[in-house]
Amino acid sequence: MIPLNYYLLFAAFLFSVGVVGVLIRRNAIIVFMCIELMLNSVNLTFIAFSAFMGNAIGQMFVFFVMTVAAAEAAVGLAIIIALFRNKKTINIDQINLLKW
């Protein structure tokens, strides 16, 4: 059996990739995909802990996270469409009406 640490390290790596992606990517949709990556790494952590502790409640949380992530993606994409209609761009650097 693969030890727990491998799962946790892999999840932490995925999470970091997501965080870095959010910080350096400029396209709003790719930023969203990076956030999904963060959420999925969290799911992986939950499932790993849950399986190793023999405690099912962690797996239940994963269902909630997936549902909320879907809702969040729906709202987020709708907002991106609304913004694209106004500004014809989804590049975050050009979305700069409001600053300081």
Binding site: G18, F64, L98
Partner: protein
Amino acid sequence: MLEQVYNSLQFIKPELILVGTLLVSIIVDLIFKNKKVVVAFVILGLVLSFYYLTFLNSINQLIFFNMYAIDPFAYFFKIFLLVATIGIVLFSVLSKEISDLKSREGEFYYFLVALTIGMFLMTSSTNLIMMYLAIELTSLTSYMLAGFMKEEKSSSEASLKYVLYGAFSSGMMLYGISIIYGLTGSFDLLAINMAIADGVSSLALLISTVLMFVGFGYKISAVPFHFWTPDVYEGSPISVTTILSVASKAAGFSMLMRTAKIMFIDPYAAPTVNDWQIIDSVPIVEILTILSVLTMTLGNLVAIWQSNLKRLLAYSSIAHAGYLLLGVLTMNNEGYSATLIYFVTYLFMNVGAFLIVMLVSNKLNSSDIDSYKGLGMKSPFIGVMFALFLISLTGLPPTAGFVGKLYIFAALVNKKLILLAVIGVLNSVVSLYYYVRIFRNMFLRESDIETPEIKLSLAEKLLILVFAIPTIGLGLYFAPLVEFAHASVEIFSGN
């Protein structure tokens, strides 16, 4: 099992009524062309919910398998949230931005109800799953509300920034929750508390606590998680800005205070009324202190440079979150009740200030500080009322803001945290500078361009008075508020 669910239902009547209001007002919105019907319906639902809420004032127990707490603390915040929401519904009725939405106007009001449901759940949750879902319900609704004027560039930009920061910080918070789950094997705050007291790896606990605080800090807009606040407050409709700065912040604080008290208090120490025994393994007080000092200092210093009033009030609301955190970090009953008192005063003065900004921008289509030049002389009623709210926000007597600050600083001094109290007072002095700048523009400067006199309707004047009278009144007679706050700091924290 079914029996417990059935028994629990009687305690969540206010929430159930709100859900009913939400569903029915969607149908009402489809049937009636006149959107004021929806407004009437929403207000009816909120008042009815308030009525049923008052029956829960002295109940202190956990329902739904320990997932949901009905206690005086939640009761206080639910009353607060309902008052704030009713106020903001009335506020939005007068707003030109909202009535210009035409066919979508009804939607706006039932989204406010959905937001209230989310915030109700936030105040009462004692389980990390419930807390996460409640935060998300509140956030998703706020994203939509922030971008409600979808033809406006600034509104859709604000909502995009909000959704990106929000999703990012909720991802951070979830990662913290997953580590806590790994350490303790539970999502229940009481069980987590017991597990922490029995000893867990303190480094992992520290990391997970900090990650969880990213989620809370984002909701209460504490520095360094505040980046969304000025942009969203400036871009969204003013009604939404107001509810975000008052109600959503209160819900975030109630959740932070409940978590801090339940998770990090030593369950084996003898229960004391005032000073709580904090588990040594987490530097919770230090984390809160850093957050608080950064929040109020940065909020106040950056507010000085603002030229847009909505943005200035956004930074001022960040600074107020810092003062509120001062009350939380004392981690005793006195500090917690001071925070509650501060929230009530903050509700009236902040909503009042935003109300004036909204009424002025209805007429002048601008919330720039320069457009306020000479306003106090031309429209004395608006000028005097705005001055009153600003004085209260600074915290000068005899207004409510002074009482709020007084109790916070008294709690700090009693806890021997003199230095923090001094920082708080210095910050208030800085805030005086930028509030006075508005004051000076209104009364001492002549306008370069000819601005029309702002005539208010009777309803608008009455609504201003509804917020102005408590702002003065609570500054002079505050004993009942203080008693209510003292009675409300009892959080359900196990037996």
